[in-house]
Structures are given as structure tokens and as C-alpha cells.
Amino acid sequence: MPNEPTASAQAPLEETTAVDAKAPYGSTELLVLVVERDPHVRELEAHFLQHAGFQVAFATDGQEALAQARERVPDVLITEVLVPKLDGLALCRLLKQDPRTKDISVLVFSILAANSRALEAGADAFLKKPLAEQRLITTVKTLIDNRPRKANAP
């Protein structure tokens, strides 16, 4: 599968977040990639995830998310189904088909009741919006605890 041009890795990271794009991957902070179009959801997700000790990166559409996921291989990817260019479920399928990205835990977090479709697409978890801090953080932590192989936790 030909690689997408990775220039988009420089693409718009949320300016309000404390993401340090230069931090070497493999540091002790676990990386969560959030794929979300709604600025309010993005902002609140960032706040709660960072507050829980995660490093957070953003993509606002599916293509950009795919490129970032291949480049940075986050520990967890949280995606809405309804994102431009490549929908969240298609993104999930592509990630799960690719050996480089198949171990990324995918959480589908959507306004749609897409529970079973998320399952079919190979997602590891599903949550329905709106956002609740406890549910989100608990789910992300459980995903990390349940990762199929030992990754980069110290």
C-alpha cells in the first residue's frame, strides 16, 4: 500500500493544547490521537485526557488521521464516525488491516449509535456522545491495559 505523503504530519495541531510535537516518541507519556471535527469536543477531550496524563494529538479529518497514525503510531486513537475525507469507520478498517498500525487501540466515539458498525470495523471500544470525563478516561485506560502485546509502557 503506497504511503500517503506524510507532509500532513505538520498539519494543524490544535494550538490551544500542550502537545509537544517534537517530543520523541517512546517517552513515558502515552499518546492519544483524537480525530474530531467539532472544536468543542476536541477542546474538552484534550483537557480531560491531558489532565489524566496523556499526550494528545489531533486530526480533523480521516486522511490526516491516517497519515499521523502511520507516522506516530499512537497508543490509542479516538475517532468520531462523522469526519471529513475518510470516515471514522473506514479509518478504523485501514488501521486494522495494516501491520504497522493494527495494534493501535481504536475507540469510536460518536454522536451516532454506531456500536455494531464500530465492532464490524474492528474497533476496540465504542462510546456514544456526549462526552463524560469518567467514561472516556476509564475506557482509554482499559484499552491501554488490554493491549494485545506489550508496547512501550515502561
Binding site: L44, N115, D124, F126, P130, L131
Partner: protein, 470 residues
């Protein structure tokens, strides 16, 4: 393949709309379960209409010591101290929750200093710092009045609505809005539900009404619902609507004896079960005595029976019972219910709701409502009374409750309110005629639906054993 290990209950139960109880069973009934959770709701009405009390009861009902906080923001209408001072008189007030899980604060100063746009930051900070499950803003109308331009207000609302939608919280905008502002004020465009509270003056007392104007994603009980404000908050009387199913056929064929000597013969065996009978007549014609006999007959036959009076208090009614050789205590033990309501005290909504509830709870089979005219005096809206009486009669028919409504006529006028006759399955006309110094009472069956009844006028005498016809 990864296993699909995590999906919590709320994410799995996708199709049912989660509800937030109002803390008031009757209001929840009107809303088909409560407000939609995680929504934006407007509580509107003139000052003093009960909006804040509705919100506060809901806040206390949904607050849980170990749960997420409930926030109440006052704006520029009333200082926090004043709101809290009045809050303490209510029974739902719980001191241990105040300042811990329920937090009151004023954002008026900040809004005034920094403009209405600062509400976005206030809410964002509230969400990130406190993760509230409920946010009440009272008065939101004050924020509207503070805005300097329509675009400013719209922009702020767009952001606020976005935030409130993104996060799992339920918001209430409380405001002194009037109905004509719904189409022009942008806050109504972001609202998932709207409830209007209104008050109308009627003589020396107020009638209060509540109405659902919008409830996104759900059905609700339409129309005006009466309510009162008590120490328990709002006491709501959902509007009585006609039952869904018609009465069962076999129910209506059963005959019930009236208990009036000679009358059942004229009625070819008695009244039909579940039917409504209007007893008309001038004052002194014997309406109350006849109705009382009907109820006593019920008790003697082991049917739970109820007497609703707007004129005679329980003591007076007990005297009447005694005259028929029935001890009040025994009668109560055998299933007799008295309901005395002073018609100047209450609005018909609460009267009808109480009657209906008692009938349901006590399995009442016979009921007397004495007299309809008192209800007419108690209401500002006769159309509303008609639909209530109609709905009551329909419910009685479905549940097999035989009813007598007394109605006082003046002079020769048979039915002052002619539309009343449509409510009656049967009409008995009592009369008293004077000839010189002698008086003679009579009874005539004007109408008896489905009964081969007698049509003549008959003498009616009141003896020590009660009424005798013929």
C-alpha cells in the same frame, strides 16, 4: 482480531432517550418521563410564576452526594443570597447538599464587566473544572438584555450550545420570557425543550398553569396543566384526557340499583353501570338526598363509593348519613369516601385530579359530584370544565364507575349550560311545585340512554326512610 470489550450501558442502549426526572412525578408524567438528558431546556414565564422553584426541585432531586455537581448561576436578576434564602423554606431543601454537590454562584458581575461573550469561558471552565451534570442559569433573559447586539448574542449562543452539546450535561435557561419572544430570541433556537409557566388572576386567587411548548424527540401531554406552589415545590395536576380505549360492552349492560324506592322500576331495573346521571332541580327538590341514597346503596352492596361535595362539609354529611341510619365510622370502614372541597380555594384542575386519583386508588364504583354548578363558579374557563367533565365521564365509563352529578336549576330553565346535557347518559329532573300553601315534589326521567324508561312525571316524597317515588 481485537475483542470488543468495552461499551458501557449508556452506549449500548442507544435508542432510548435518557431522561432527567424533574423530581415531580406528575410533571414527569406530562413530559413522558422527564427532560431529555444532555439537552438545553428553557423554563419561561413571568416573575413569580414558579420557574426557579421548578429548577431547584429538579436540582435537589438529581443531586447525589458522591455524584457530579449541580451548578446554579445567578445573573443580574437576583443576588445569590436572596435566592438561597428563599430556597430554605422548601421541603426538598437539603442543607448537606448546598455548597457541596449543589453550588450556587453569581456570574452577573463578570458578564456585566466582560460582556455576554464571557459566558462561553464561564461554562467552559465550569465543565473542565467541575464536570457538572446540571447547569442552571437564572435569569438567562438578563443575559439577553445585557447583550449589545444581535450578532454578539448569536455568536455567544452558538458557542455555548456547542459546548453544552459536546459535554454530558443538562442545561436549564430560566427566564422571564414571553410567548412573543420565542420566534425572535435566538436562545429559543438552541433549546431542545421549552416549558412555559403562567398565572392568571381569578377573583381573589391566582390560577397557575404550565404548558410544554416543545420537547425534542418525545411526545408529551399537550395543553394547560394546572399547578400550585407549595412547600414541596410545584404540585402539578396533569390535564385529564379521555381514555384511549372505549368501555367494554358487558360493563355497560350491567344494572345498578339506585337505592331510591320506586325509581328502579321506572328505569326498567336500574341505571346502567359506568354511566353518568345528571340530577337536575331547583334548590330543595331533593337532589342531595337522592344522591346520598345512591351512595348509601352502594356501600350496602359492598361497592366502594365516594361523595364529593363543594357545599356540605364532612360534619354536615355525617348528619345526613345518620338520618339514613348509617354511622359514619362504619360507612368509612365499608368503603365510603368523602371529599369536601371548598370551591373558592382551588382550581378545577386540582379538584378533578384529586377525584380521579381517589377513584383509581380506592377502586370506587359509585360516585356523586354535588354540585356541578359549584365547579362552574370555580372556573374561569367553562370550555375547560366541559372537557374535564367529559374526560372524567369517559374514564368512569371505562372503569365501570357509575356517577351522579347534581346540577341546580333556576326557575323553568332545564339546563342553563345546555352543553352539559351532552355529558349525561341519563337525566333525572326533580322539581318542586307550590300550590297555595302546599308544596309537591316530582321526578321525571328526561333521558336514560339505552333504557326503556318511564316518561311520566311522578310524585316524589321525602320520608324518614329517604326518597320514595310514585
Amino acid at each position: 482480531m481485537s475483542s470488543f470489550s468495552i461499551a458501557d450501558d449508556e452506549s449500548v442502549e442507544q435508542n432510548s432517550l435518557t431522561r432527567l426526572s424533574t423530581g415531580n412525578h406528575e410533571l414527569d408524567t406530562i413530559l413522558f418521563g422527564g427532560f431529555p438528558a444532555h439537552s438545553i431546556n428553557i423554563l419561561m414565564g413571568e416573575p413569580g410564576s414558579g420557574k426557579t422553584i421548578l429548577a431547584e426541585r429538579l436540582m435537589f432531586a438529581n443531586s447525589d452526594e458522591n455524584g457530579r455537581p449541580v451548578l446554579f448561576f445567578t445573573t443580574l436578576s437576583e443576588p445569590v443570597d436572596k435566592v438561597v434564602r428563599y430556597l430554605q423554606q422548601f421541603n426538598f431543601y437539603d442543607e448537606s447538599k448546598l455548597g457541596t454537590v449543589i453550588q450556587y454562584s453569581s456570574i452577573g458581575h463578570q458578564l456585566a464587566e466582560e460582556g455576554v461573550g464571557s459566558l462561553v469561558r464561564i461554562i467552559k471552565e465550569a465543565i473542565t473544572d467541575l464536570q457538572p451534570q446540571i447547569i442552571v442559569i437564572d435569569s438567562f433573559k438578563a443575559i439577553h438584555d445585557l447583550s449589545t447586539s444581535v450578532p454578539e448574542m448569536r455568536k455567544m449562543l452558538y458557542e455555548v450550545a456547542g459546548l453544552l452539546t459536546a459535554y454530558e450535561t443538562t442545561a436549564f435557561f430560566v427566564g422571564e420570557y414571553s410567548a412573543d419572544q420565542i420566534s425572535t430570541y435566538p436562545e429559543f433556537a438552541v433549546a431542545d425543550s421549552m416549558i412555559e409557566l403562567a398565572r392568571s388572576k381569578h377573583g381573589t386567587r391566582d390560577e397557575r398553569f404550565l404548558r410544554v411548548l416543545k420537547l425534542r424527540g418525545s411526545a408529551y401531554l399537550e395543553g394547560l396543566h394546572g399547578f400550585r406552589i407549595t412547600n414541596d415545590g410545584l404540585v402539578v395536576y396533569p390535564r385529564l384526557v379521555s381514555p384511549k380505549d372505549p368501555p367494554a360492552y358487558d360493563l355497560l349492560t350491567e344494572r345498578v340499583p339506585t337505592g331510591v324506592n320506586g325509581l328502579d322500576t321506572l328505569l326498567d331495573g336500574g341505571l346502567r353501570r359506568g354511566r353518568s346521571t345528571f340530577v337536575l332541580g331547583q334548590t330543595g327538590a331533593g337532589k342531595t338526598t337522592l344522591a346520598m341514597q345512591f351512595v348509601i346503596k352502594g356501600i350496602r352492596r359492598g361497592e366502594p363509593s365516594m361523595y364529593v361535595s363543594f357545599e356540605e362539609n364532612p360534619t354536615q354529611l355525617e348528619v345526613q348519613l345518620a338520618a339514613f341510619g348509617m354511622d359514619a365510622k362504619t360507612a368509612h370502614a365499608q368503603g365510603l369516601k368523602f371529599l369536601y372541597v371548598s370551591p373558592v380555594e382551588l382550581q378545577i384542575d386540582s379538584i378533578v385530579a384529586t377525584i380521579y386519583r381517589t377513584v383509581k386508588e380506592s377502586g370506587i364504583k359509585r360516585i356523586v359530584i354535588d354540585a356541578v354548578g359549584d365547579l362552574l363558579i370555580a372556573t374561569t374557563d367553562t370550555q375547560r370544565l366541559h372537557s374535564y367533565l367529559y374526560a372524567l365521564a369517559q374514564h368512569f365509563a371505562v372503569e365501570g364507575v357509575s356517577s351522579i352529578f347534581t346540577y341546580e336549576t333556576i326557575g323553568k330553565d332545564l339546563f342553563t349550560e345546555t352543553r352539559m346535557s351532552a355529558l349525561a347518559d341519563n337525566i333525572l329532573l326533580l322539581s318542586i311545585q307550590f300550590e297555595g300553601r302546599r308544596a309537591q315534589r316530582t321526578l321525571r326521567i328526561v333521558k336514560a340512554r339505552g333504557i326503556a324508561h318511564d316518561l311520566d312525571e311522578h310524585d316524589l316524597t321525602i320520608t324518614s326512610n329517604g326518597i320514595k317515588v310514585g
